[in-house]
């Protein structure tokens, strides 16, 4: 999450971020109505409106040529405007300042993926923005939800008092994908046997389970989209690494940020005192209980007995409301999603389910954890000597990359080169969008620092590699890719 990058300019100048609804505020004097979210919030309304007005104008203009997909990005001299139509007529726009001196060199798709992530996480916890607006035409509640949610989200990008967005240093990362743990057949079978046991714990409720080891996905029964969302939530709020760090280093500034946010949301949410704003992304709110289940009071506390309310979320495809129940044993995190409708007795049913899990599955959980821990190669497990790589499987929304610690050893030139190559591939992909996504693509360039920067794309899979200490010949470079492909990708990128 770009934590390695150096500082950029002050937040207000470097980053503007707004969400607006084109169906609202279409009459003079009601323009403020269309603003659903604006960051920085303390910017005067005329300034906010001018940003939104420009964006709206660009959208309207580009729709003339491309009614289906209006503009994605506008590159101005000093700023880049990144557009994302989250829901019909609800737009998210991010305006970032360009600054060659500093590290402010972006890949637009990387920024768009931030917008996408915010939106899909928001939907997961609160449902779609349109539905919220339809329920409450005034929009006050929607604004409060969006504000607290996005501010909590942006907290992750806060370094000191500056926002550090994903930049070229994050080129060997793919936001919105899942990182998998590679397991042997025997361990995989044990995992699936555990999945079966979890399934039977949930009885006939047609629930889902997701299993993570450390920050890597082991198994899921969810659809790929829901898996991706839950995975990014789990790896940022639930896994053992997050839980242990939440208590130490990040705590101090978070509390400060939260206090600040709280005051802001109070001012925005005035007049809506009756509503409780659930803040699922709030930091440091999850902890592991004595029984191994993760608890949080984010969703409130049952009146009287101080038992935290079980979290709920929405599945993207089926739009079912699910209870979220997380259990942790050492490095293993197990998330169960149970349909709210199937739990007629609510919290009582959940605690029965927890009991079931402890009784029927804990032996298997211990076994699986041991097995995975034994086979786990540590945080550099997926390092391949001599290579810095990113492998994306678009079909299954999975990526794997060189460990961050290894990527930082690359020079700035190499990183800028791979950033550029990825931008080209993004462009190529968006051009071919729809008609032939299986098109094979191969780019191999020699950067200024004599590093080989290579991109290959075939049948929905992408591979990016930087070879810094490589021989000069192209033959050498392509052989190196061939080797990598055969060894780590089942030969998927071996074109001939």
């Amino acid at each position: 999450m770009g934590l390695s990058s150096a500082a950029i300019t002050t937040p207000s100048e470097a980053l503007k971020f707004c969400i607006f609804d084109l169906r609202r505020g279409q009459h003079e004097g009601e323009e403020l109505e269309k603003i659903l979210f604006f960051f920085p919030a303390d910017l005067p309304f005329p300034t906010q409106l001018s940003v939104i007005g420009l964006s709206e104008g660009l959208i309207t203009f580009t729709r003339i040529f491309s009614p289906e997909a209006a503009c994605e990005v506008i590159e101005a001299e000093l700023h880049s405007h990144v557009f994302f139509e989250a829901e019909p007529d609800i737009w998210m726009v991010m305006v970032v300042a360009k600054n060659k001196e500093t590290e402010a060199i972006w890949r637009i798709e990387a920024l768009r993926s931030v917008l996408k992530e915010i939106h899909s996480l928001f939907i997961m916890f609160h449902g779609s923005i349109r539905v919220l607006l339809d329920k409450e035409p005034g929009g006050g509640l929607t604004r409060s939800h969006l504000f607290t949610f996005i501010m909590d989200y942006l907290n992750d990008f806060l370094m000191g008092n500056k926002f550090v967005l994903p930049n070229f240093r994050d080129s060997l990362k793919q936001r919105g994908t899942v990182q998998m743990l590679t397991v042997g057949r025997e361990a995989a079978i044990e995992v699936q046997s555990l999945v079966g046991a979890l399934d039977s714990c949930m009885g006939n409720t047609s629930g889902y389970s997701v299993i993570l080891f450390q920050d890597l996905l082991v198994s899921t029964t969810l659809t790929p989209d829901d898996t991706t969302n839950l995975f990014s939530y789990a790896t940022s709020r639930l896994t053992p690494r997050v839980l242990s760090s939440g208590r130490s280093s990040t705590w101090s500034y978070l509390r400060k940020g939260n206090a600040e946010l709280a005051s802001r949301s109070a001012s925005i949410g005035s007049g809506l005192d009756g509503f409780r704003i659930v803040r699922p992304l709030q930091h440091g709110k999850w902890s592991k209980g004595k029984d191994g289940f993760l608890v949080t009071d984010i969703w409130g506390v049952e009146v009287g007995n101080l038992v935290p309310t079980t979290p709920t979320l929405w599945l993207q495809q089926t739009e079912h409301k699910m209870y979220l129940c997380a259990y942790q044993h050492k490095s293993l995190t197990i998330i169960l999603l149970i349909p709210v409708t199937s739990m007629l007795n609510g919290e009582e049913g959940i605690s029965m389910l927890k009991q079931q899990l402890l009784e029927n599955a804990s032996a298997k959980i211990v076994k699986v954890e041991e097995k995975l821990a034994k086979g786990w190669g540590g945080e550099n497990a997926y390092h391949v000597k001599g290579y810095r790589y990113l492998l994306v499987d678009g079909d299954r929304n999975i990526s794997r990359a060189s460990p961050p610690g290894k990527v930082t050893t690359l020079t700035k030139e190499s990183l800028l080169a791979i950033n550029k190559v990825r931008e080209d591939v993004d462009l190529e992909k968006s051009r071919g969008n729809g008609n032939n996504d299986d098109k094979d693509l191969e780019i191999c360039i020699r950067a200024k620092n004599n590093a080989w920067v290579i991109a290959r794309s075939t049948r929905g899979k992408e591979l990016y590699i930087v070879l810094e200490k490589a021989n000069e010949t192209l033959l050498y470079a392509s052989e190196a890719i061939e080797k990598f492909s055969d060894r780590y990708c089942n030969g998927a990128f071996s074109l001939d």
């Binding site: 699936q192 079909d395 074109l495």
Partner: protein
């Protein structure tokens, strides 16, 4: 086997063990008694000057008797030598007379003093001697010297003996001594040598302080199950059946079973212990494989099957006689599974009714374990196992139960592979990873009941000579089961007879995930036992996941190789599930490539319109089996003259003489007709 439930066959038709009518009739006019020679499995009926004998193994009611002539005189006991060349007859308390069958010569062996009573004798295949006399003063071990036509004393064991019991099956002689006859010495005289057991006492409860019950020979039974030797002792006061297990170096009491009759008889059928509660006329079954003392089933009576129906008066008369005689005082129980009615001369063989046993318990995994251990009616046991598993799946019993059942079958099959008893019976193709049978006869196995040492208790040898002999007899009766000597079920049969057939009946949405969970457990179990799973099972797994549209999970299963790659699976991914889900289809394509099924892969690429990639691949892997016309058609259909030209040129170089074929000319012409054509 049709069940003929004549009303005279006991209380109702419910029973777990039966005898089959007609019996082997051993009636002989002028008989002076019936003797069982368990060394040769002969039933012997001596008359004043003749010996009539019937072979009881293999057991057939129609077996003809053989007759030998001996001189007149009393017969206290009679046994043929193990090579059947000699007949030994105990004439009195101190004389045993021998006939050499070939020549008719005779000789006798007498004990030295009048007071030294001969209690009995038995022939042995022990290395050091041929015949053993049990006397009140101990054992005399003799070897037979054919040249001298006499016995030569090899060894004698001095010990006071009140009475003794011996079974040839166990090669074990137990000598009782003491006031209460509850102090025991034991010798095992096997081909491996003579083993002396430590002296031990049997437990006897007292009804009051002063009474001292005396243990009698009929209350002690030597039983051989699963190659282990046990001794069962009836304690009439405590109404308990104490069991002792014999090891090479120890005798260990194993616990006690309750009895409900003062008279107890014991049979062993196919390693199952049948405790006949003679007074109550019921049988309790125990399978003491895992030292469990829980009965296999509830006490039930013995049934006579195959009784002729009432039309024939004389035979129905005899049928009524036989049923009336069930557990009469004239019933003698012979080791291991025979019953002889000395009054009628009927010899019955006791059978287990596996069907009834399996139907009487709801604990299916336990029943399966029981059935898997059965060897005598292996085919039936196997069929029952398949049917049981099938039916509990169709009944949708809870998954844990099914899992245990599956595990039982898989573990049992793995065990049979390890011991080599599986490959012996059924030809197995090499792909299922069955090792060759190489453990024919282990040393110590030939004794037919050698002790295991106490520290190797779990090292049970299921392969028993006696068991095999009995098996032969069963096979002759049921010709269709000749190949099946073990109830274990190989994975491919489990697929065919259970999974595939159940799949046809389970078509609901929830059924697919139910069945899939079972398959997964099967795969897990097989993996633990290192058994190769038949590709059809993986194909079924793919199909089930596809049916529930669990495509993402299917991807995980394939990538993790839980579903092992094979051509069958690849085709299912491609054409079955893949026809509905493009990602799954890709998995199939990748699998073909990983399996190096070059031809199929290239054809598939062409089908998908990737004919240029296919050409590159064909060149790299030298795939020359794909017809050029496929590529040419695809290139022509794409309407790209450059591509068509490239394909033509490729084949011109790749296939010698391609330039002269009609295909070449056809497509050259086609190329020329295409807009903006270029020349090759």
């Amino acid at each position: 086997m049709s069940r003929n439930t004549s009303s005279s066959g006991g209380s109702g038709a419910l029973s777990h063990a039966y005898i089959h009518y007609p019996p082997l009739r051993c009636k002989n006019n002028g008989s002076t008694g019936l003797f069982y020679d368990d060394g040769n499995k002969l039933l012997i009926s001596p008359t004043s000057n003749q010996v009539v004998s019937w072979k009881t193994s293999p057991y057939t009611p129609q077996v003809a008797s053989t007759t030998d002539t001996i001189s007149e005189g009393p017969v206290l006991s009679i046994r043929y030598s193990l090579d059947l060349k000699l007949i030994a007859v105990q004439r009195s308390n101190n004389e045993v007379q021998f006939w050499v069958k070939e020549t008719g010569e005779t000789f006798s062996q007498k004990s030295k003093s009048e007071s030294d009573t001969i209690l009995g004798f038995f022939w042995t295949d022990c290395a050091v001697c041929d015949i053993v006399f049990v006397k009140t003063s101990g054992l005399d071990l003799y070897s037979y010297v054919p040249e001298l036509k006499s016995l030569e004393l090899v060894d004698s064991k001095k010990v006071n003996v009140s009475w003794y019991i011996y079974t040839h099956e166990s090669r074990l002689v137990l000598l009782a001594s003491g006031m209460q006859c509850k102090s025991f010495m034991g010798y095992q005289l096997s081909s491996a040598g003579i083993i002396r057991l430590p002296r031990f006492e049997m437990a006897m409860a007292k009804s009051d302080v002063n009474s001292k019950p005396v243990l009698s020979a009929e209350d002690v039974h030597i039983v051989t199950v699963y190659g282990r030797i046990y001794c069962l002792q009836v304690d009439r006061v405590a109404m308990l059946l104490h069991s002792y297990r014999f090891y090479r170096d120890a005798v260990i009491q194993q616990g006690s079973l309750p009895v409900y009759s003062t008279k107890i008889a014991v049979s062993v059928v196919d390693n199952v212990l049948l405790i006949h509660q003679v007074d109550a006329k019921v049988i309790i079954l125990y399978d003491i494989f895992a030292d469990s003392r829980t009965p296999v089933s509830a006490p039930l009576p013995l049934l006579i099957r195959g009784l002729p129906r009432g039309s024939n008066i004389s035979s129905s008369q005899s049928a009524n006689d036989t049923s009336a005689n069930l557990y009469s005082d004239d019933w003698n129980f012979l080791v291991p599974d025979l019953v002889c009615d000395v009054s009628t001369g009927f010899l019955w063989k006791i059978h287990l009714d596996l069907e009834a046993i399996s139907a009487s318990s709801s604990e299916v995994p336990l029943v399966l374990e029981f059935l898997q251990r059965r060897k005598l009616e292996a085919k039936k046991a196997k069929d029952l196992c398949l049917e049981l598993l099938r039916s509990i799946m169709i009944e949708r019993r809870p998954l844990p139960v099914i899992f245990r059942a599956v595990n039982v079958l898989v573990t049992s099959f793995a065990y049979s592979l390890k011991t080599g008893s599986y490959s012996k019976s059924t030809p197995v193709n090499s792909s299922s990873g069955v090792p060759e049978n190489n453990s024919g006869n282990k040393p110590g196995d030939t004794s037919g009941g050698g002790f295991s040492t106490s520290d190797s208790e779990d090292n049970i040898n299921l392969k028993k000579e006696n068991g095999e002999n009995l098996m032969v007899s069963e096979d002759q009766q049921e010709s269709q089961s000749q190949l099946v000597t073990s109830a274990t079920i190989p994975p491919d049969e489990l697929y065919t007879f259970v999974f595939a057939s159940v799949e046809e009946e389970m078509i609901a949405f929830a059924d697919a995930s139910y069945l899939f969970s079972i398959l997964l457990e099967f795969i897990r179990s097989a993996n633990l036992e290192k058994i190769k799973v038949h590709p059809n099972i993986y194909v079924l797994a793919v199909r089930l996941l596809g049916r529930n549209e669990r495509y993402a999970e299917l991807g995980q299963f394939v990538l993790n190789k839980i579903i092992e790659p094979s051509k069958e699976v690849a085709l299912e991914l491609l054409e079955g599930v893949g026809s509905r889900n493009i990602q799954t289809r890709k998995l199939g394509v990748d699998m073909l490539r990983q399996l190096s099924l070059h031809h199929d892969y290239v054809v598939l690429l062409v089908q998908d319109g990737c004919y240029l990639e296919a050409l590159r691949y064909a060149r790299k892997h030298k795939v020359s089996t794909v017809r050029p016309s496929l590529f040419l058609e695809a290139a022509y259909a794409s309407n790209e003259p450059q591509h068509l030209a490239a394909v033509l040129r490729f084949f011109g170089e790749f296939i010698p003489g391609f330039g002269t074929t009609s295909e070449h000319t056809t497509y050259i012409r086609a190329l020329a007709d295409m807009p903006s054509s270029i020349t090759v």
